[in-house]
Every structure is written in C-alpha cells, then in structure tokens.
C-alpha cells in the first residue's frame, strides 16, 4: 500500500467523530456503530498496509514524512502539520489502531443500553484521531496538539456520565493535572526552539549531539521539563492522582485511554526524544528513579483496594513506572516492548473487568463478587491469561517484556533499581491474583440484584477479549531473549535508536544496550541474565502463592492481617492520603489566597484607593460638586467647548 495514504489513518477517525458528533441523537444506532467502528477499522487496514510497506523497505530507509499544510508561520517560527512514519511511530500506530479497533467493537456491546450512544462514539473516534496525531507527529507542536487533544477526550469520556458529580469532578481533575504537566512540556518546547530554532524532530535530533554538550545544563533542562509533561500524561509521581479517579469513565474508555494508549504517551515521548535524554544522564537518572518509585508505590496501594477498576488503575500506574524505569536506564526498545505487551494484557484486563461489571449490572466491589468462573467462562479464561501475562509468568507476553526491563535495569542501572523492579514484580503478581481469586474463585458474594442479572457477555464483547488474549499469549514472542535472531522488535526499532551511537561517550553504553544487540549485549554474561530471569520468575510465583493462600485457602487471613497492622492498612487503603495532602496544602491555600485577593485587595485596596481619592477630592473641594450634574450630555458639551477653546487659542496665537 502506498505510504501516501498515511494521512487517512488519523483523518478517518476524525471524520467519524464529526459525523457522529453532528448527528448525535439523530442517527440510528446501527449507523453510529458502522461509522464509529468502520472508521477505525479502515484506519487499521491502512495502518497495516503502511506497516507492510515499511517492512518491505531496507532498514535504514524506513522513514516516510508527509506534509499536510503549514500550520503556524510567525517570524522565524515555521511549523507544519507533518506526519512522520518510522518504525517507532509505526509500532505506536498499530497499537492505537489495533487495540483501538477491538475496543470500539467491544463498545458496541458494552454501551448498547446507553442513551448517548452517538456522543460516546464521537468522543471515542475523536480520541483515536488525537492519539494518532500524537504518535505520527513529526514535530513537537503537532505532538503537543495530539497531547492536549487526547487530554480533552479523556476529560470528555471520564465525565461521559456528566450527571454523576464524581464523574464530572474526575474529568476536570484529569484535565487540570494534565495541564500542570503540559506546562512543563510547553517550557520544554520553548527551550527547544530557543536552542535549535526549529521544532522539527529531524532537525532537533540530528543537531542535538553537536549543539548540546553531553550532560550540559540545557540538555538536562529540556529533558526534565519534557519529563514533567510525561509525568502528567502518564500518571507518574507526583502527578498520578488523576488516573485512579479516571475510572469514573465507561470501562472501555479505561481500557483504551487509561491503560493501552494515552497514558503511554509520556513513554513514547521519551523514546522519541531518546537523543536528548541520552545527552542528559542526570535527567535519565531522574526518569529511572521516578519510574521505579512509582512502580513500587502504586503497587502497594493496589494491594488493598476493593474496587476492581481501581486495582487495575493503580496497576497501570505501576506498569507505566516500569516503562519509565526502562527509559531511564536507556533501554528504550525494552520500554516500547513493554508498552506494547501492556497494551494487550491491560486492555484485556479492563475489558474483562468490564465484562464482569456488565454481567453484574454495574457492580465494581470485589467483596461482592466471587465464584464467577462458572458463570462467565470466556471472561474467566481470557482474564486468567491476562493475569498470568501481567504477573510475568513464562511464556506469556508480560514475562518477556518485564524481564527485559529488569535485566536492563540491572545491567545498565545497578542492583537498587533492579531490586525495586523485583519488589514491584512480587507485588504485581500478588495483587493481580488477589483480583483474580476474589472475582472468579471462592464463595459467591453477589447482591441479589446482580445474581438475577448474571450472564456471560455478548460476542461483540467476548471476541475482542479472545483476540486480546491471543496477543497477550504470543505477543512476547517477537522479542525473545538470548536466542540468536529472536529480538525481532529490537531489530525493527534499531534504525530509530541507532543515532544514539552519535551521542558518544558515557551514553554510548546505553546506546548499544538500547539497540539491543551487538557487541555490548554479547559482552554480558548470559548466565547472569538467566539467573536473574529465574529469580524474577520465582518471585512472581511467590506472589501468586501468597495470593492463593490469602484469598482461596484461608479467606480470613487478609482480615486478620489488616487488623494486626491497622496503621499500615489504613495508610494503603487511603492511598497515603496524597489527595488529601494535595488538597490541604495546595488547592485550599490557593483558593483562600484568591478569595483574599478578590475581597481584600480588589475591593478594599484598589477600589478603596480610588474611592478614597474621590472622597478626599469631594471633601476638599465641595464646589466641584456643582459641576457634577450627572448629565453626560453636559460633560460632552464641556469637553467640546474645551477643545474648541484650546484650538481657538492655538489658531489665533
């Protein structure tokens, strides 16, 4: 397929969004579904065609750019709406259209009873458009367009059920927290423009190694400001608090936006800017530490949550932490690998959870689930695959991608980052199997209402589940460690990350590691890699074993433990009180300050001064009041007469 069709990939979903948006409430459901699913399906077909064409080209030539029109020309700033396709954006494009398509199909079943069906698909298509613009952008400003665009769609979809106050609140919170991150992104863009005089990826990344000294202040500043943007979009410490609340949105939205695609945008951005980060080792260290800390921190909160979607939300935050850990240790390809496998199994987990929620007519509390295995056989089987994948059990997809990150964390980052990753892996295995056991095993704790409603989901929902299960099962095989020629993803991405070699010096090590094969890789001891792999596998199995003890064998054990360690339990249950701290320490003081500015400064000081001067004049010169008749016509007359007198004087002088 000709790459000239690339522009259709984002444009088709945009057209779908416009049609469904303008026709909302008037188009019949079948038409809405056809437009909504069809537009993304067509985009997927074209994306696959472009991908095939790209594969047919020699490795180093796999780049295609398409300028649509010039966007902003002002002085020496010139920004075009330009798409760029290279192996990295191709991977992202396939994830977005592929997983996106399955979720659109699933939505036709899940949202079937929804009144605002057209509005829903309009938003979902709009999101797909923005996300594709984000990943296909060939300069920072178009990327920022997509970046804020997906934020808007996230806002709209989280608050889809707007009559629910918590949903409206969560949507707003998501947008604002993201905006805080976007502030950093924006400053990063300014710094880039000041430094390079351009915002084009090609120019910036080509010139960066010669313009920015390795480890210099400017490189570090740019990388860190961009990372602030990434922490917002990808829910990392300290800007992660919006993501758990975002679960107010419909579950397919959580799967698409808040698991598979949008939240990974920060990871993609760093991978895209790998040259800049390679020039800023300090920034890389910050990324690695924030990623590792988030991975462990979010996992601990996930240990005790009862809401099935919230567990998955904290799990997503934690998994994103892994991806940032990968970025931070210069294992860019490994991070993208995990991004991809995570998109498969986390989308599956959310959709599976959605299937459970759908079956129980809206129930999300795992305390009121249990024993669903026999009622929901397809959902159960696919969920089990996804749970094994995220826990990192061989040979599921998550095993390969997580292990590669842990290995790189050890070899590039050292034992501390590795240990954090391993602890996170243990916690992940535990809380995911806790979720699995509490949902599908043990006694049925359903409410009568849910019990009466219980049914397996329709095919439109279960078929996407099964397809994602297949991907979660075999998706890891594109990148098999140790095997000669097994690292196909690495090889595919290699041309993208090859330019790391030009960064030179200290970063060269990371470059070689990122490239994934070659001398540096071979130099490592394969025995060590296998040993570490076995350790993490054992750790994951241990997590599963503990979960099994707690939630199947002895269901009272968690309660006893919670009672014994009340303080710790409360800390985790209340999510370390971070929301409360932010509110008390940041939000409330700003509101109080604003009120004081309004009521004290504006009314008392500024207005007071003016009124005071007015009063003083009034007291001092009472006769002036005679002139204050209040008739504006008179004022105008006086003005005119005054002008005439002045000019008359001037003329006759």
């Amino acid at each position: 397929m000709s790459l000239q069709l690339l522009w259709l990939v984002p444009i088709l979903p945009l057209l779908g969004a416009l049609l469904n948006g303008l026709g909302a409430g008037r188009l019949p459901r079948k038409v809405v579904s056809a437009i909504g699913v069809g537009s993304v399906g067509a985009a997927l077909v074209i994306a696959l065609g472009c991908f095939a064409t790209l594969l047919g080209m020699p490795g180093e030539e796999r780049f295609f750019a398409q300028t649509l029109f010039s966007w902003i020309d002002s002085g020496d700033l010139s920004v075009a709406v330009r798409l760029g396709l290279d192996p990295l954006s191709a991977v992202m494009m396939l994830v977005v259209t592929g997983v996106g398509f399955l979720i659109h199909v699933y939505s036709t079943g899940y949202m079937n009873h929804e009144k605002d069906y057209g509005r829903y698909f309009s938003y979902l298509n709009l999101f797909t458009f923005c996300m594709l613009m984000l990943v296909l952008a060939d300069n920072f400003l178009v990327m920022f367009f997509g970046w804020e665009g997906v934020g808007l769609c996230s806002y709209l979809l989280i608050g889809f059920w707007y009559t629910k106050p918590s949903a409206a609140e969560a949507g707003k919170k998501a947008f604002i927290v993201n905006r805080i991150g976007d502030w950093g992104f924006l400053i990063g863009i300014f710094l880039l423009f000041v430094t390079f005089g351009s915002l084009d990826f090609g120019r910036v990344f080509t010139e960066a190694p010669s313009i920015l000294p390795l480890g210099g202040g400017m490189a570090t500043a740019i990388a860190l400001f961009l990372f602030v943007g990434a922490t917002g979009k990808s829910a990392q410490i300290p800007l992660y608090t919006w993501l758990p609340d975002a679960m107010e949105g419909p579950t397919p939205v959580s799967a698409l936006i808040h698991a598979a695609t949008m939240v990974t945008a920060g990871v993609y951005m760093i991978a895209r800017c790998h040259v800049l980060y390679a020039l800023a080792p300090t920034a890389l260290l910050v990324v690695a530490v924030v990623g590792a800390a988030t991975a462990v921190y979010a996992a601990t909160i996930g240990l005790v949550q009862k809401d099935i979607k919230r567990v998955l939300a904290y799990s997503t935050v934690s998994q994103l932490g892994y991806m940032f850990l990968a970025m931070g240790v210069s294992a860019f390809a490994a991070g993208i690998f995990h991004l991809m496998t995570h998109a498969f199994f986390k989308a599956l987990l959310f959709l599976g959870a959605g299937s459970v929620i759908h079956a129980l007519s809206g129930e999300q509390d795992m305390d009121r689930m249990g024993g669903l295995k026999k009622h929901l056989p397809r959902t159960h089987a696919t969920m089990l695959i996804a749970t094994l994948a995220i826990a990192g059990i061989f040979p599921f997809a998550g095993f390969f991608s997580k292990d590669e990150i842990l290995w790189k964390a050890f070899s590039n980052g050292g034992p501390i980052l590795w240990a954090a990753g391993v602890i996170g892996a243990f916690l992940t295995a535990f809380y995911m199997f806790r979720l699995y056991f509490m949902t599908f095993h043990g006694s049925e704790r359903l409410t009568p209402e849910a019990k009466g409603h219980l049914h397996e989901s329709p095919n439109s929902m279960t078929i996407p589940l099964m397809l994602l299960a297949v991907l979660s099962l075999i998706g890891g095989l594109i990148q098999v460690p140790l095997l000669q020629g097994g690292q196909r993803l690495d090889a595919f991405l290699e041309p993208v990350f090859a330019d790391l070699a030009r960064v030179g010096g200290a970063a060269a090590h990371g470059a070689a590691a990122a490239a994934g094969h070659g001398a540096a890789h071979a130099a490592h001891d394969p025995g060590q890699e296998i040993a570490l792999m076995l350790v993490s596998l054992a750790i994951a199995l241990a997590g599963i074993y503990v979960a099994h003890r707690f939630y199947v064998k002895d269901p009272q054990a968690p309660h006893r433990l919670a009672a014994r360690a009340r303080g710790w339990y409360d800390l985790l249950w209340n999510k370390y009180w971070v929301d409360e701290i932010y509110d008390a320490r940041i939000v409330q003081p700003i509101v109080r300050l604003s009120n004081r500015l309004w009521k004290d400064v504006d009314a008392a000081v500024v207005d007071g001064a003016v009124n005071g001067i007015g009063r003083k004049i009034e007291q001092g010169a009472g006769w002036l009041r005679l002139a204050q008749t209040g008739y504006v016509q008179l004022y105008a007359l006086i003005l005119t007469v005054g002008l005439v007198v002045v000019f008359g004087y001037l003329a006759l002088r």
Partner: protein, 571 residues
C-alpha cells in the same frame, strides 16, 4: 491596485466607518413602536458593514509596508488637522473583528433588549462607528474624537439598559476612562508643539509625528500619559476594577462589545501610538509593564476562579487574557507581537462568545449565580456543546484559536525573558481551572433546581449568534496563517520603530519569514533606513520635503509612492 477601493463612490474606509451611523439616522426615521423593523434594519446595517469590510481583508497587500487604503482630506488646515484614515495589517484584523462582533451583538439583542429598542440600536451603531474610527484614524485629533465618541454610547448602554447597580458601574467606567484620556490629550498637545518646534509646521498627522525628535525625559512623560489612558482601557492591573462592575451591569451586547472591542482600543493604543511615538518611554517602562502584565495574568485568573457570578468570572478572565496580550507586545519580537495582535482578535471572539453564552443562560433563568445552575447539559445539549468549545477556545486548547495566540505570546516572551514566560505560563493552567470548574458546576452534575429541568435549548437565532464565532475559533486554530500573514510586516515595523529612534542599541533587522521577502525588498528597506533613521518611510519623507498632501487624495498604500508601484524596495 491602481484604483482606490470605493463603495458607491465613497472610499472604503469612510464607508465602513460611517455606514453604521447612517444606519442610526435611518433608525430615527422609524417609529419606535415597530421594534421588529428596527431590529431587522439594524441587523441589515451591521451585516452590510461587515460585508463592506471584507474587501479590506481580501484586497490588502500583506507584504507591503506602510498604511493602505489611505484617505486624506484637510479638515482644519490652519491647525494641521486632517481627516486621514489608513490601515495596516493590525487595523484590518481589528476592523474585521469589530464589524463581525457588532453584527453578532445586534442579533443577540433581539430577545434580550425590549425597552427603548430604537435608542439602544442607534447607540450600538454609533458605537460601532467610533470603534472602527479608532482603528483607522491616522490623525491624532481624529483619533481622539473617535476615542471619546466611543465613551458616550457605552456609558449610556450600561447606565440605561444595565442591571441593578448600573449607575455606579457606568459612572465608574466613565470616570476611569476620562481621567486617562484627559492625560492623553495633554500628551497629544505637547507632541503637537514639539513637532512644530522642530519642523516649523503644525500637524496632527500620526505618521509625521513619529519623526518628532523628543528628549529622553519628554518621551518618558509622554509615554506615561498615553500609557495610563491605554492601561486603564486594557485594563491592566491595578486599573482593572471598573471592568467587573461594568460587565456585570452591562447588557449582553454591551459586554460583548466592551470585552471584544473596547479593551482592544487600549492594547491597540500601545501598539499604534504609545510605543512607536515614544520608544524610549516604551523601553524604559517595559519592565514595569511586563511586571503588571504577569500580575494581571495570574491575579485575574485567581480571582476569576473564586467568582460566584458567571459574568464576573468571565470579566476577570479578561484581565488575565489581556495580560497575555500586553506581555506579547512588550516582548518586542515577531512571535510576541504577532501573537499579541492575534490574541486581541481571539479574545474578542472567545470572550465575546462567553458573554453571549452567559446571556443565553441569563435570559432563561434571570440569574448568573453559578450555584443556581447545575446539570444544564441535560436540558440544553446543543448549547452545552457550543459552550464547551468556547471555553476550550478561551483556555487555549491546541486546534482552537486561543492556543495559537497564547503559544506565540509565550514563545516570544520566553525568548525575551524566560523566567517571566515560565511564570506567565501558569496562567494557562489556571485558565483551565476556572473555566472547567465553572463549566462543571453550571453544566454538569445532577439537576438540583427544578427551574433548570426544562430549559429550552438554543433557538435558531441563538445558533446563528454563536455559529459564526465558532467557525472563526476553529479557522484560526487550524489555519492561523490566513491571519498571521497580516501581522508579519506590522510586527517588524513596530520593532524597528521602537529600536530605531532610541539611544539603546538597535536590535538587528528582523528576519523575514522564509524566502517570501526578496533580498531586494530588504535592501530597499535598509536604504530607506539609511535615509531616515526611523525607518518609517515615505510619509515622513513627504513631510520633510514639505510635500504637503493638501489636495484631496485617496492614497492607496504609502502616501508618497506612485500608486502602481509594485513594491517599495525596487533598488
């Protein structure tokens, strides 16, 4: 263009400016009782004015320096007062925005204004003449007259058709602005005499006054006098407190015009008068103005956030947005200035639309208290969608107009003062906070008040009020180059003006975009600069040579150049 553009034999600028007033006279002939006829007539007049202003946009030569569509008729020759009009790219955009917003404002009053309709409409049309005149006047006396003409109708619109505290608000409005404009008048007269002292001729011609040699000290004082008048109008912090009062009391159409156009008279005044006339003053005061702008951005946003009245919230948001405009202007680089002018237009569209949306709610509920609403989306889904687009435009979402302006301003500011821009950019966060919080409380959530359950959605007329604005919001956001083209030359001219006559080291000649400007053109400008250090070109040249434009001339482009000369810079 060999022929000056005319409509019915009247030069285009004069036609556009005075046609609304002619319309006002026509209104006076209609009986007051025939309110519908009055409304339709006013709308037709406003639409014709808008249509008549479009050729200004399409026939304008963007690459050409100097004023275009120039008209010059001696008025009081003994005093050197001329009826002289002309526009550059900045004026064209502001004039177009004014004619568009005026038509929309008229349409919005059809159901909102029911008393003394004839007077209201007539005042609105006179107001339009005043505003258009301000943006086209090239003679300081003419400018001052238009400037004052604007005050009276606006005073009456607030004072007669306003809300509860309308008298207080109207008097506050007029006192603030009159204080400012009187100082400006003194400044104008000083400049007039200074020019006479230097060149021996009395003139109020702006383009010649640009050449007036002034001492550093005089420039500071004069800049101060002009800047105060304009700063009150903008309004810059801390001269802003008349604005919330005026807006809350003004009828919707008044608010639309006030925020959309009147405030731009202040920023335009800086750009056209205060800065190029007194460059030393501009540079000396720049740090202060930038500081006040940043305070305005953040202060306005914070105070907007805690308002309980939607209209007041929008009013305070204007303080914040106009802070951005001033910041961009004083960044004194192409992105800053272009972004600033574009943002003047953007603010007119977005904030005008916000006031219209608030008016639509007010007409249904007769309250603007946020707590009186909630869940309105349920009853008014179409309105909700449009209102959200307007809010997103105002908070600077990429793809809509506000982003382009704010991005260029902040980029320009960042190149000049990185820390200032970093601080100002937090205003972008706060913009999202106050608008989305308001939107959440008004439009989302459950319907808590019975009155809100069955609110009618937009009528066809209301849709027509908002739709044209939305079209421009998207257009500017997706393809801003249509409009940015107009600002390339004015931005570089302003930079030259501010840098050329000062003792401060001149900035290097501005880079022209791409290869569009030929090297020859740039050389031509350099040549002119060599002859005339202000770089202003032939208006000044004509003046110095004593070539008075005494005869009635309708110059196209620069007064002195042959009308069919393709460009200025043929070497």
């Amino acid at each position: 263009m060999t022929q000056p553009l005319t409509i019915l034999g009247i030069p285009i600028l004069s036609f556009v400016i005075f046609f609304p007033s002619v319309g006002a006279l026509i209104l006076l002939l209609l009986p007051s009782s025939r309110t519908h006829a009055i409304r339709v007539t006013t709308l037709v007049v406003a639409l014709i004015t808008f249509a008549a202003s479009i050729p200004l946009f399409t026939a304008f030569q963007v690459a050409q320096r100097g004023m275009q569509f120039v008209e010059r008729v001696p008025w009081v020759p003994s005093l050197g007062i001329q009826y002289s009009l002309g526009v550059d790219g900045v004026s064209v955009l502001l004039i177009l925005m004014t004619t568009l917003l005026s038509a929309i404002a008229v349409l919005s009053t059809f159901s909102a204004v029911t008393e003394r309709v004839k007077t209201f409409m007539a005042l609105l049309l006179v107001l339009e003449t005043g505003m258009l005149g301000v943006f086209a006047a090239l003679d300081l006396v003419l400018f001052y007259i238009f400037w004052e003409v604007v005050l009276i109708p606006m005073y009456l619109l607030i004072g007669v058709w306003g809300g509860q505290r309308r008298i207080y608000a109207a008097v506050k409005f007029i006192l603030y602005t009159v204080v400012g404009s009187l100082l400006m008048l003194v400044g104008i007269l000083y400049l007039y005499f200074a020019h006479q002292a230097a060149f021996g001729e009395f003139t109020f011609d702006l383009l010649r006054l640009y050449d007036t040699p002034l001492t550093h000290g005089a420039q500071l004082w004069l800049f101060g006098a002009f800047a105060l008048a304009f700063a009150i109008k903008v309004p810059m912090w801390p001269f802003h407190t008349w604005l919330p009062d005026a807006h809350v009391e003004a009828p919707t159409a008044g608010s639309v015009i006030l925020a959309g156009v009147l405030l731009k008279m202040g920023t335009y005044g800086f750009l056209r008068f205060a800065m190029p006339l007194f460059p030393d003053g501009a540079i000396a005061f720049a740090p202060w103005i930038i500081a006040l702008s940043v305070i305005g951005i953040i202060y306005g946003a914070l105070v907007a956030m805690v308002q309980t009245d939607v209209k007041k919230l929008v009013a305070y948001s204007s303080v914040s947005h106009l802070g951005f405009v001033m910041l961009g202007l004083f960044a004194l680089n192409p992105q800053g200035i272009q972004g600033s002018v574009l943002q003047m237009v953007n603010h007119g569209l977005s904030t005008g639309a916000l006031f219209l949306a608030v008016g639509i709610l007010y007409e249904r509920r007769h309250t603007r208290e946020i707590s009186e609403f909630g869940g309105v989306t349920k009853a008014m889904p179409v309105f909700s969608a449009l209102f959200l687009i307007i809010c997103l435009s105002s908070l600077g979402l990429p793809g809509l107009n506000g982003f382009i302006g704010e991005f260029l301003i902040l980029l320009g500011a960042f190149r000049a003062h990185p820390w200032v821009a970093g601080l100002s950019a937090t205003g972008v966060i706060l913009g999202a906070v106050y608008l989305l919080w308001m939107f959440q409380r008004v439009m989302f959530g459950p319907v808590t008040k019975e009155e809100n359950r069955a609110l009618p959605d937009l009528t066809r007329r209301e849709l027509w009020v908002l739709a044209p604005i939305i079209v421009f919001i998207v257009w500017i956001g997706v393809y801003p180059n249509t409009f940015l083209r107009f600002l390339d030359v004015p931005a570089s001219v302003l930079m030259e003006q501010v840098s050329s006559r000062t003792t401060v080291t001149p900035v290097p000649a501005p880079e022209y975009r791409g290869g569009e400007e030929s090297g020859a053109d740039r050389e031509g400008i350099a040549l002119l600069d060599a002859e005339r250090p202000d770089g202003l070109g032939e208006e000044g040249g004509a003046a110095a040579n004593g070539a008075h434009a005494d005869s009635v001339q309708h110059h196209h482009a620069d007064g002195g150049s042959p009308p069919d000369a393709p460009g200025r810079g043929e070497p």
